[in-house]
């Protein structure tokens, strides 16, 4: 527990400090300029993460993976449906298919 608190504690303190600084100086034009560039690049990091995660799945088992990737994306990303419901439908279905394939 102490290890977890230590691991989590420092980054949390740092990020709250950054948040407070942003709250105080975020209105300055220079800060805003930097932040919008930063935000665009940060979005790019997540695009790359998604692509990296998708690659091995699509190479190994495109037929069972692609439909679930697509439906999860359209439901949550495009239509902005609440995540819990989407998970409740998609996860059991996907697991059942993998279970059937294995047995």
């Amino acid at each position: 527990m102490a290890a977890i608190a230590g691991l989590v504690g420092a980054p949390v303190v740092i990020v709250i400090t950054l948040g407070v600084l942003y709250g105080r100086f975020g209105g300055l034009e220079l800060v805003q300029r930097a932040i919008i560039g930063l935000a665009a690049a940060a979005a790019g990091l997540v695009v790359a993460t998604a692509a990296r995660m998708a690659e091995p799945l699509l190479k190994r088992r495109a037929l069972t993976a692609a439909p679930f990737i697509l439906v999860a994306f359209v439901a949550v990303g495009v239509f902005r449906l609440p995540l819990p419901y989407v998970l409740l439908v998609l996860a059991p279905l996907s697991i059942a298919i993998m279970w059937k394939r294995a047995s």
């Binding site: 990020v15 942003y22 930063l38 935000a39 990091l45």
Partner: protein, 180 residues
């Protein structure tokens, strides 16, 4: 004051629930955090969310730091602490037991099916996160170009992503993206 307490409670509930659903990591629940904090609770604008996410990405530490910043934006430092605790505690406790069980049943076919079944759903959710963030952050074609470039660099090279963030922030300072 009662509004403030309601906000703290909403943060605790929202992130507590999310932490149990975040088996794909915090990156998979970004759309839900965004939906709740922008559309449902109106704690911030789309642009604020993109900015806070960018700050969380620039800070050292785990992905769930975005919950800390959302909590901070919604209800100050108490909000930050509550959101962080709610995001961590349930899944930390659960993970503690789950990892043991997960290891014990390593050879069990159910475990394989669950892991393999959840994987593509998680990937779809991370794509959703990417889409939500791109829409929030890229208000011009120049910014879209920055997103594309940083995605390409991170995907195709082993360069530390922090360089992308630093370069984009520096570019922004020159003013070529304007101000929001």
């Amino acid at each position: 004051m009662s509004v403030y307490w309601a906000t703290l409670r909403a943060l605790a509930v929202q992130f507590g629930v999310l932490s149990l659903l975040a088996f794909g990591g915090a990156n998979a629940v970004i759309p839900e955090i965004h939906r709740q904090s922008v559309a449902v609770h109106h704690w911030m604008t789309d642009k604020d969310f993109a900015a806070l996410f960018a700050i969380a990405q620039s800070a050292p530490g785990p992905n769930f730091l975005i919950s800390t910043l959302v909590g901070w934006k919604a209800a100050g430092i108490p909000g930050a602490l509550i959101a962080t605790a709610a995001m961590c505690a349930p899944s930390c406790l659960l993970t503690f037991w789950a990892v043991k069980a997960w290891d014990r049943y390593r050879e069990h076919p159910w475990r394989t099916a669950i892991g393999a079944g959840i994987a593509p759903v998680t990937v779809g959710l991370v794509f959703s996160s990417a889409y939500v963030l791109v829409r929030a952050a890229d208000s011009s074609w120049r910014l879209a170009l920055v997103t594309t470039a940083s995605a390409a660099v991170v995907y195709f090279t082993k360069l530390n992503p922090l360089w992308c963030l630093a370069a984009a922030a520096a570019l922004g300072l020159t003013g070529i993206f304007g101000t929001p």
